[in-house]
Amino acid sequence: MLAYRAGTPIRVRQFLADLARVGAALGAGGYVLNVCSDRYRFAVGFAASLLTGKVSLLPSTRTPEVIAHLKRLCPDAVCLTDEDDCDLALPRVRFPEAAAAAAPSAVAAPPAAAMPRIEAGRRAAWVFTSGSTGTPVPHEKTFGRLLEGMRVAAQRLGLEGAVSHAIVATVPPQHMYGFEASVLLPLASGHALTAERPFYPADICAALARAPRPRVLVTTPLHLRALMAADIAVPDTDLIVSATAPLSGQLAAQVEERARTRLLEIYGSTETGSIATRRTSTTPEWRLWPRVVFEPRADEIWAHGGHVEQPTRLCDVIELTGGDRFLLHGRVADLVNIAGKRSSLAYLNHQLTSIPGVVDGAFFHGDPAAAETCVTRVGACVVAPRLDAAAIVAELRRRIDPVFLPRPLLLVKSLPRTPTGKLPQEALRMLAAALHKPSPS
């Protein structure tokens, strides 16, 4: 079985027919922004793009600014969507559904000779990180390296056997982690993906119950925390995979007990893809995947080798503990990660101070002590004598992903800069705390 939608199996034969139809609809351009929210349609769109030599564009956010930038980078890009009200400013290709008459049984299997071969170096996707200058930076993923990464993923997750697992996922297919674990992994290793993206705890449990065993849940600490807090029975699950933010050993143990499962955490980044795993309930130590190397350079750690496309400086504070083992000690100061969306203070500040009428402004991290128990947001202090907070937030909404919208946004007369012009995070937090009046409860 290749996939399930609402519990109904989708077979390889139908997938191949869908590929041909979608490939023909994509036109002659070289780039496809695939925004299909149905994971099966996303997978069809991705594979059809790959087969017809088009690069899938996977930006983490789709603000008007980002779309305008994509258009400059890839003037012939089209947007593949499965929704009627898609309002992105790109030529649109509506995901073409099979005609009702072409029921799966009526679809002829393509002759074996038509099965395509794809060379390892073919460009498959561009994923994006936010550069500090304010424009998203593309990172190219080639087919061979993506496949190699998934071969190792299957090994390290214990999914390399002949038994097909059904993979349920709460993460979007367009995010690097979701792209790998919920789309590429099933396609590359003979597992079945599921089209839905359950959100609430009750949805997740229903989706799991619908999936045949053995089944896997690909998710995040955010969803796991909600699942544990909800007072509902979690169906037995053969493996749970978590990524985007570190999970505490305690929560991991609780999840394993409630879902009678094994929980493995993945470490990675947009640039590198998944590169390490750990069984969080038993050890805080991560184990790097084969052939990937961590190299200390000055006070930075760089990852290279194996399926990593380009040597990449990691944005986490990493302690190498010998061999292929390491510990994570939080994030490099400038980095912001909210529920798996990554940005940097420099990028956010650049966007803020580019708003006409903003004289000065700076973002700051939320309370680090609260990070264990909830999602912490960023705040911002802004000098803008002629603007009000609502106008600034409305402008920011056009430019940055909504998860980074400041809470609070405080209008101030000036920023607490040191005589040398530096702006310590602590000074910003103290200023914010002094201005912040807790609302009456």
Partner: protein, 101 residues
């Protein structure tokens, strides 16, 4: 309350809904650590996007609070979902109709 388990619930009185709106506003402000005082959230103001500015992370938080407080498990695949978070009033009406405690 006994009428909470009645299968033939009558449409909620406006006073009941108004009280629930106030309660929910307080719960949301506390759970999300919002800047706005609970009383300032308009009952018909959109909760998502441009209104109160909540996103899906917040909605998940609210769903938790609502399940703990009222025993309502929200489902995204229910056809009501679009409507439920349209405003505090919609949320209050949904909770009122489905609460088990």
């Amino acid at each position: 309350m006994s009428d909470n388990v009645s299968p033939l619930r009558l449409p909620a009185g406006s006073a009941e809904i108004a009280a629930l709106i106030g309660e929910l506003a307080g719960l949301i402000v506390a759970a999300l650590n919002l800047e706005v005082p609970a009383a300032d959230i308009g009952p018909d103001e959109p909760l998502y996007g441009a209104g109160l500015g909540l996103d899906s992370i917040d909605i998940l938080e609210i769903a938790l609070v609502v399940s703990k407080q009222y025993g309502v498990q929200l489902r995204a695949d229910s056809e009501d979902n679009e409507r439920i978070f349209a405003s505090l009033r919609q949320l209050a009406e949904y909770v009122n109709a489905h609460r088990t405690k």
